[in-house]
Structure formats: C-alpha cells, structure tokens
C-alpha cells in the first residue's frame, strides 16, 4: 500500500561507512586527548532520508518528515500521479577559522518519493516547517473521503 520509490538508501550506507571510519580515526585521536570521545561505536541506522510518518486523518493525509538543519525554502515539493516527492539539500557549513573535532552530521542532497495510498487534491495541500520537522497536509479528493453510511432497519 505504501511504496518507497526513492533510492537514496545506498548513499546513506556510504555516508554511514564514512562515519564509521571517521569514528575510528577519532578514537585514535581521543586516546591521546581524552575529550570529545564516544564510549563505543554508535549504531546509526542507514534509512531513507528524510524519515517520514504518515497519518490518515479521515478527510486528509498528514505527513511529518524530520529535516533538521534544512530551511523550509530549501525543500521542493511536487505532487504528480499520486506520488509526492521531497527534494532538497541539507547544508552543513564548518565555521571559518575552526578546526573540526567531531563530525557526525553529513551534508547531502536528498530526494524521496512517496506513493500516496489515496487520491489527494493538489489544491488542498499545505506544507509548513517548524523545529526541523516538515508537516504536509494533503486533502483527499471527495471520493476518497470516508462516508458515513446510515443503517436502517427493515421493518
């Protein structure tokens, strides 16, 4: 019912592998300095980005995507043939004049397509971003909304 069309997973596997390698480098560094060290390698999952929750709320679908560090203006949303696509870039800028001591937050471009389980009305779509969470409300077309069926007794 809910299909994931995007193929950014592979990119994330690669990013996570880079992270693992970086952690090893850092543990070497940390042995001599004893600061900013992690006690054990962290197991960060390599899932599609952004991670998304989808709720069916009767006459609308509501999608919540975690996009920390991405400004609302840097996300492009398209709705085509029942597929919602989120596209954008997460920028991570190292401040000038600073040395990096630990880097776990990757910068990357992302594209994620989500096949919607019901027909929605593009005119009834609202997207807002707050605290690093993108909320997309998609109004269903009339035919896809739940309808109350009156049950009559046959007397």
């Amino acid at each position: 019912m809910f299909t994931r069309l995007s193929d950014s997973e592979r990119t994330f596997d690669l990013l996570d592998e880079l992270r693992r390698q970086m952690d090893r480098v850092w543990s070497d560094f940390d042995d001599s300095h004893g600061v900013w060290r992690v006690a054990s390698p962290r197991n960060l999952s390599s899932a599609a980005w952004p991670a998304v929750n989808v709720f069916d709320d009767g006459d609308k679908l509501v999608l919540h995507a975690d996009i920390p560090g991405v400004a609302a203006k840097d996300v492009e949303l398209t709705l085509h043939d029942g597929v919602l696509t989120l596209k954008g870039e997460r920028k991570v800028e190292a401040p000038a004049g600073y040395a990096a001591r630990r880097q776990e937050r990757p910068a990357f471009r992302f594209t994620r397509s989500i096949a919607l389980p019901v027909k929605v009305d593009p005119e009834k779509t609202i997207a807002t971003a707050k605290d690093g969470v993108l909320t997309i409300t998609l109004g269903k077309v009339a035919a896809a909304r739940p309808r109350q069926i009156a049950v009559r007794t046959s007397a």
Partner: protein, 129 residues
C-alpha cells in the same frame, strides 16, 4: 585522563523502534574548536526551545531534549517516534561556564562554549639572544 563520555550510544533514529524502547536517542553532533571557543551543532528535530536542557558541570556537558508529537488519525507509516534525546560529553577544562550560549534553529541546536581567558593558546615570542 578524563573518562566516560557518551553514555547513550543508541541509534540516531527510531526508525525501527518498538513501543518498548523508550530510551533516549543519541543525537548527531559536530564539534568545532577555535582559539576562543568550542562550537557544537546538534540535530534535534521536533524539539521546541523550551524543551532543551544543557548543563556543564564537573568537566561534563549534558544535553537533554524532550520531543513532543501528538498526531491525529491512523498511522500508515511510522519511521520515527517521539523519543527524547540525551548525550553526554567529557569537555576539556577551562570552559567559561557562565558564558555558554545556546541557539535553536530548524531543529539544530548550536552551542557556544567559550574558553576561559587564561586557557586560550598564547603565542610566545622568542627573543634572539
């Protein structure tokens, strides 16, 4: 040498989390250093300003944040859950605790930890004899 730093090495995302696992998540962190300060950036999606708690005490930096998520309707897909964040670091000596500043934008916490004046690196002039 200082020991113990990250006490919550859980996964960074709750993608496959079951209802039973409510332990806090370790957020992803970048650490930068200049002569004057340490700068931390922490991914805290879904956290409001008033739900972040940062403490520096006894050479330890503690970052805790509470995530609130109360959606309406039936879940069709749940790749993340509203779990709290927690991370601890051993920090170098000489941080000016009074001057630590925090800012939260687009789900990213920026922490500035200034070094105490006497701890900053100073260039020593070498005089020729």
């Amino acid at each position: 040498m200082q020991k113990t730093i990250d006490r919550a090495p859980n996964e960074g995302r709750a993608a496959t989390a079951t209802a039973a696992s409510s332990a806090p998540i370790s957020p992803r962190v970048d650490v930068y250093e200049s002569d004057a300060e340490f700068l931390l950036t922490v991914d805290l999606p879904g956290v409001a300003k008033e739900n972040v708690d940062v403490r520096v005490h006894d050479g330890e930096l503690l970052i805790e944040a509470k995530r609130v998520f109360a959606p309406a309707g039936t879940a069709l897909a749940e790749e993340w859950r509203a779990r709290d964040y927690r991370r601890t670091f051993a920090v170098p000596e000489g941080i000016d605790v009074e001057k630590v500043e925090a800012k939260l934008d687009d789900g990213v916490l920026r922490l500035s930890l200034p070094k105490a004046a006497q701890k900053r690196a100073r260039k020593i002039a070498i005089n020729a004899s």
